[in-house]
Structure formats: structure tokens, C-alpha cells
């Protein structure tokens, strides 16, 4: 009798498996990206069948390219829980290099390179936990609304989501010039131009602040500040600060070494590190863990007048102006002579 037990157990298991497979087949959504016609071996670039899943109906239509679907298309019933191509969740779609949208004459990529988060400051770590910060940790409005609705505000949400964790930085930012003035009765006319966290810090590839990351951040002055403050960037050309920094000198000060980072204030503001009253502390004090100059006085601090004004001071120099005018005069005279000679020969 006991010899029949394994046979009975095996038969029961087989029946259960067939029953489960049938149930799974019946429940499988017809447009699931996992429902590849037939059980073909996995091919890179093609959707991978879920191991253990029943074969799909051969008549199941292949879905249209979802990435360029026009707005208003009925959302796809994507299953965000099942791994596909070794990816899961958002990366099912956003891990696809071909994920683009066409806006006017532009192709906008929504591809997020694999591993970019893991290698960033938001990857797995002591503060972020073993999984790191999940996509929905910053893309808050997508946390419970998959697939995406036509949400134009998603970028602002993502760029401002940092405040959820970085409260001190957000607090400082809120008191500075970059914050949108939301006081009652006042309208901030510059609100559209003001940066959010992500505008300065970037998005998926925010570097860890180790030595390499700090060096990388240090060299990103134009990306962080200069592309908005072009005039200030162009005028940052004095000998040992600006000229050196804009030419990639690792020991020259970046914008934020003098102007501060999150609490950005105009120099006229008495709290600003570049305010005349604070220059001694900014140039001669302990700034960002380093002391640039020692025992400074007013005569020394007068050099700060050159940092963003070297070109202007050069233009004001009478000898320089005289030489430039002389050069222009000689050049014009030679040009006139050349024109005259040319006219002789028709």
C-alpha cells in the first residue's frame, strides 16, 4: 500500500499544477507584455516570458509601441510586479533604450540607464537602505497612479521631492533668493524662472559626496549656476579665481564656495556671504572645511572687486583703451588703404 503513495502524491501534484496553470491562463491579461506568443527561448531585446506562466494565446495581438502613443490613449494594463528582462517596476519600460516620446519635432527620451541610481547618492547605502531610494520616492505623483496619466507637472514634483528627506537644505533654500515668494498677497513674477532642487543637482545621477563626487561637483559650475547666471559666469574671469576655475582648476573656488549653496542671497543682503560685511569670514574664515586666506584685512578684501569685474576694470584703464583705439585706428587705416589699392585695379 505504501508503494502506491508516491504515485498518488505525484498524480495529485500534476493535477494541481494543471489546474493552477489553467487558472493562470484564464486570468492572464490579453495585452500583458509577458504574454509572448508561444514559449520561445529568451532573446535579448525581446520580452521575456514569465517562468512558469502558461503559453499565451497565439491570437493575442502584439501591442502597439507604447512609448509614442498619443496622449489620451487608454492606459495599458501593465503588470508592474512581474520582472521582465531581469527588470521590474518602472524599469520594465524605462530600462528600454527606445522609450521615447515625440513632441513636435523632438524625440524626448524617457530611458533611465540601468545602474545609474545604484551608482548615485540615492543608491543602496547606510542612509538609503539596502534598496536605495525607489523611483516613487522622488516621482511621488506616480506612486499610485500607474500607468501615467497626462501629468505635465511631474517634473516639478520630482525636482522638488528632495525636501521630503533633505529638510535642512530645503529649509535653507526656502529662505533664499531662489525660493518662490509665496507670501499672501504677493505674486512672484520670477517664479517660472526660479530653480528647483533638481535644476541644480540633476536627477538620476546625483553623485555621492565622496572625494570623486566632490571633484565632479566642483567642476560643474556652469551646469549648476552658470547656465542661468550667464552674465556672472562670463564675468568670472579674474586671475586666480575665475580664470582658473573656468579652466578646470581643481583648487579654484566654485560659485558656491563664495556664494553659499542652498541659502542663496543677493550680495546686498546682509546675510549673504558675499556681502561686504561678511567677506572677511568668507575669504579668511573656514569656508566649506577649508581656509583660503589667512589674516585678511580691508586692503586685501578690496581684491574682491576684481573677481567679477576684471574685464570692466580693464576697459576702464586709459592706457588699455588708448591701445585698443590705436589698434582699431591702424586696422581701419590699413583696411582703407587696401580698399583704395584694390579699387585701382578694378
Amino acid at each position: 500500500m505504501y508503494r502506491r503513495v508516491p504515485l498518488v502524491v505525484t498524480g495529485g501534484l500534476l493535477l494541481a499544477a494543471v489546474g493552477l496553470a489553467g487558472a493562470a491562463y484564464a486570468a492572464a491579461p490579453t495585452t500583458s507584455i509577458n504574454t509572448t506568443p508561444g514559449q520561445q527561448p529568451w532573446v535579448p531585446g525581446q520580452p521575456q516570458a514569465q517562468p512558469g506562466a502558461a503559453p499565451a494565446k497565439k491570437t493575442a495581438p502584439s501591442p502597439a509601441p507604447r512609448s509614442i502613443a498619443p496622449a489620451g490613449t487608454k492606459p495599458y494594463a501593465l503588470d508592474f510586479t512581474l520582472p521582465t528582462l531581469g527588470k521590474s517596476g518602472c524599469m520594465v519600460c524605462h530600462g528600454d533604450r527606445n522609450l521615447i516620446r515625440i513632441k513636435g519635432d523632438q524625440y524626448i527620451s524617457y530611458f533611465v540607464p540601468e545602474g545609474i541610481i545604484e551608482g548615485s547618492a540615492h543608491g543602496p547605502g547606510k542612509k538609503t537602505g539596502p534598496a536605495g531610494v525607489l523611483c516613487t520616492g522622488c516621482h511621488l505623483d506616480f506612486a499610485s497612479t500607474t500607468p501615467h496619466r497626462n501629468n505635465d507637472g511631474w517634473q516639478r514634483t520630482a525636482k522638488s521631492a528632495c525636501r521630503a528627506c533633505h529638510t535642512l537644505e530645503d529649509d535653507a533654500f526656502g529662505k533664499g533668493e531662489h525660493a518662490i515668494n509665496d507670501r499672501p498677497g504677493q505674486i512672484d513674477t520670477k517664479a517660472d524662472k526660479k530653480p528647483l532642487c533638481g535644476d541644480c543637482h540633476g536627477a538620476h545621477d546625483i553623485r555621492r559626496l565622496d572625494a570623486e563626487g566632490q571633484a565632479d561637483l566642483h567642476g560643474n559650475g556652469w551646469q549648476v549656476c552658470g547656465r542661468c547666471h550667464q552674465k556672472e559666469w562670463d564675468s568670472y574671469s579674474d586671475y586666480y579665481h575665475g580664470a582658473a576655475y573656468t579652466r578646470g582648476a581643481p583648487d579654484a573656488p566654485a560659485c558656491w564656495d563664495c556664494h553659499g549653496s542652498h541659502l542663496i542671497l543677493p550680495s546686498e543682503d546682509r546675510r549673504s556671504p558675499t556681502n561686504q560685511g561678511n567677506l572677511a569670514a568668507t575669504c579668511g574664515g573656514d569656508t566649506a572645511g577649508k581656509t583660503c586666506h589667512t589674516k585678511v584685512n580691508d586692503d586685501f578684501l578690496s581684491y574682491s572687486g576684481l573677481i567679477h569685474r576684471k574685464a570692466a576694470i580693464l576697459q576702464e584703464n586709459w592706457l588699455y583703451s588708448f591701445i585698443k583705439k590705436t589698434q582699431t585706428g591702424i586696422s581701419d587705416a590699413l583696411s582703407n588703404i587696401a580698399d583704395t589699392v584694390r579699387s585701382w585695379f578694378g
Binding site: 580664470a243 581643481p250 592706457l319 588699455y320
Partner: protein, 294 residues
């Protein structure tokens, strides 16, 4: 006020002055052509004869590496002030420090050679009374107002003056350059070179160590330009006045056969008047020159 405007003024003055000097040297060479000096030298290949024995390889090499290091110092120093390409700061700074070390070693060795060695060739550089009295004639020769200049020794008075000037300039340049090292603490002492060289005396006088360093930087920059100007004139004169010796010094040619045999007399060369009166000091020095012992 001082730091902002002085820095800009120095740039404007020296970047204006240097082209003027180049033009002046060009005009001077035109004078050489018009007076026939260039024809005699570069076409007929009549160059001054040299009374001293041929210079050996070691002094030539020392001169060459010194020149190369001065060139590297000027190039890297100007890059530090005016970075003309991206990403070169650490490398150029390294070049500057390397060349600085070589030049300082050269300076110490040359001072020892001049004053401490058996040769003691400092006598060849001493400006004596006859140099002073004949200086107008030397100047007039270079201004094409006289066909020849008096021959008093290995170097004429203008050469002596220039070479003597090089020593304090090099010392000052080394000291002001070292005074810029604000962030590197010397082992055992615990002070930075800035503290050691200017911080303890100039800093309190003007109220700021960093201001003292800034003044040292200005002095360093001015002396740099003096080097550029003097070396340019030195190169021009060595080419226009004695191109054969110039080539010989860089291993690109040879002086005349008589010179190679040590029989030539510099005083009899074109452009030289005979030596006026004997001078014991010069003769003593000539009896034992540096190149004899090298």
C-alpha cells in the same frame, strides 16, 4: 583698490612694453643691416674671435638646462595667471615647481662656483673703473654711433651689469615664489613658507598675511617680466653679435679653427678696439677661468 588696479595695470604695461621691445630689437637689427654689420656677420661669416679655450660640454649643458627651466618657469607661470587651455593647472603647477627646484639648485651651485670654488670666476663679472669709463663707447657701439667697442675682458660692461643683475633677480624671484606657498606646512617647523618668508614681518606691518602674499605675488610677476625682457635681449644680442658662438653653445655649429686650437684673440675681431691698458684683476681672472677646470 591697490590689488585690483595694480594687477590690471601691470598686465597692460607689460603686454604693451614687450611688443615695443620686440619692435625695437627689429629696428636694431635693421641698423645692423644698414651699417653692413649683418652682411659681414651673416654673409661673410665674420664673427668675433674668442680668446678663451673652447667651452666644454658640461657648461654648455648647464646653460642649456638653465635656459630650458627659465623658459618652463615663464610658460607655466604665465599659464597659472592666464590659463590658456583647460585642465592644465595641476600639471603646469608641477612643471613650475620642478623647474623652480632646478633653477634654485643652479643658482646655489653657480654662487658657490663663483665665490667658493677654486675657480672663483666672480672676478670676470666685476665692474671696474675702466668698465665705467668705457661704457659710453659700448653704448654708442650698440647705437651704431661707433664702429667698434673697447675690449676689456670676457664680458663687456653691459653684459657684466646684466649678469650681475640676474643674481638678485633670481634670489628675489625664488623668495617671492616660495612666499606664495600658503597651504603647505614645512615639516618640523609647522609653518608655511608664506609665514616664514613674509608672514612674520610684512604681514603685521600691513595688517594681513594674505595681503603680504598678494604683494609677493605682484613682485613675482614683475620680476618674471624683467626676466622675459632681459632674456629676450640676451638671446637677440647673442644671435646678432655672435651667432657662431650661439650655435656652438647649443651644439649646432663650431667656432673657427683657431679658436678651437686656443690661438684666437677676441680683441682682434671685427667690432673690437684693442684692449686699452692692462688690468691685473682681469688678467688674474683670465689665467684661471671656469671653463678651464670643467
Amino acid at each position: 583698490m591697490i590689488l585690483t588696479h595694480v594687477n590690471v595695470w601691470l598686465d597692460v604695461v607689460f603686454f604693451t612694453l614687450y611688443p615695443i621691445i620686440l619692435v625695437a630689437l627689429g629696428v636694431h637689427f635693421l641698423g645692423n643691416i644698414l651699417t653692413g654689420r649683418a652682411y659681414r656677420r651673416f654673409v661673410k661669416w665674420q664673427w668675433p674671435e674668442h680668446e678663451h679655450p673652447p667651452i666644454k660640454a658640461l657648461p654648455k649643458f648647464l646653460h642649456f638646462q638653465h635656459l630650458a627651466c627659465i623658459g618652463l618657469l615663464v610658460l607655466s607661470g604665465l599659464y597659472i595667471r592666464f590659463p590658456f587651455f583647460t585642465g592644465g593647472r595641476p600639471f603646469m603647477r608641477g612643471v613650475h615647481y620642478f623647474a623652480m627646484t632646478v633653477v634654485i639648485v643652479n643658482l646655489i651651485w653657480r654662487l658657490w662656483f663663483a665665490y667658493g670654488s677654486r675657480v672663483r670666476d666672480y672676478r670676470e663679472f666685476v665692474v671696474n673703473r675702466r668698465d665705467i669709463t668705457t661704457m659710453p663707447q659700448v653704448v654708442m657701439y650698440y647705437l651704431f654711433m661707433k664702429p667698434s667697442k673697447p675690449h676689456l675682458g670676457k664680458y663687456n660692461v653691459m653684459q657684466k651689469g646684466t649678469y650681475i643683475l640676474f643674481v638678485p633677480m633670481l634670489i628675489l624671484q625664488a623668495l617671492t615664489g616660495l612666499a606664495l606657498l600658503e597651504f603647505w606646512k614645512l615639516p618640523y617647523i609647522g609653518m608655511t613658507p608664506s609665514d616664514l618668508l613674509v608672514g612674520w614681518w610684512l604681514g603685521p606691518m600691513i595688517g594681513s598675511t594674505s595681503l603680504a602674499v598678494a604683494y609677493a605675488r605682484i613682485a613675482h610677476y614683475v620680476i618674471n617680466w624683467l626676466f622675459i625682457i632681459i632674456v629676450t635681449i640676451h638671446v637677440y644680442l647673442s644671435v646678432s653679435e655672435d651667432f657662431a658662438a650661439f650655435l656652438d653653445f647649443f651644439g649646432l655649429g663650431f667656432l673657427d679653427k683657431r679658436h678651437a686650437q686656443g690661438k684666437a684673440g677676441h680683441a682682434t675681431a671685427p667690432g673690437h678696439t684693442p684692449m686699452p691698458a692692462p688690468n691685473a684683476a682681469v688678467d688674474d681672472a683670465r689665467g684661471l677661468t671656469g671653463s678651464d677646470l670643467l
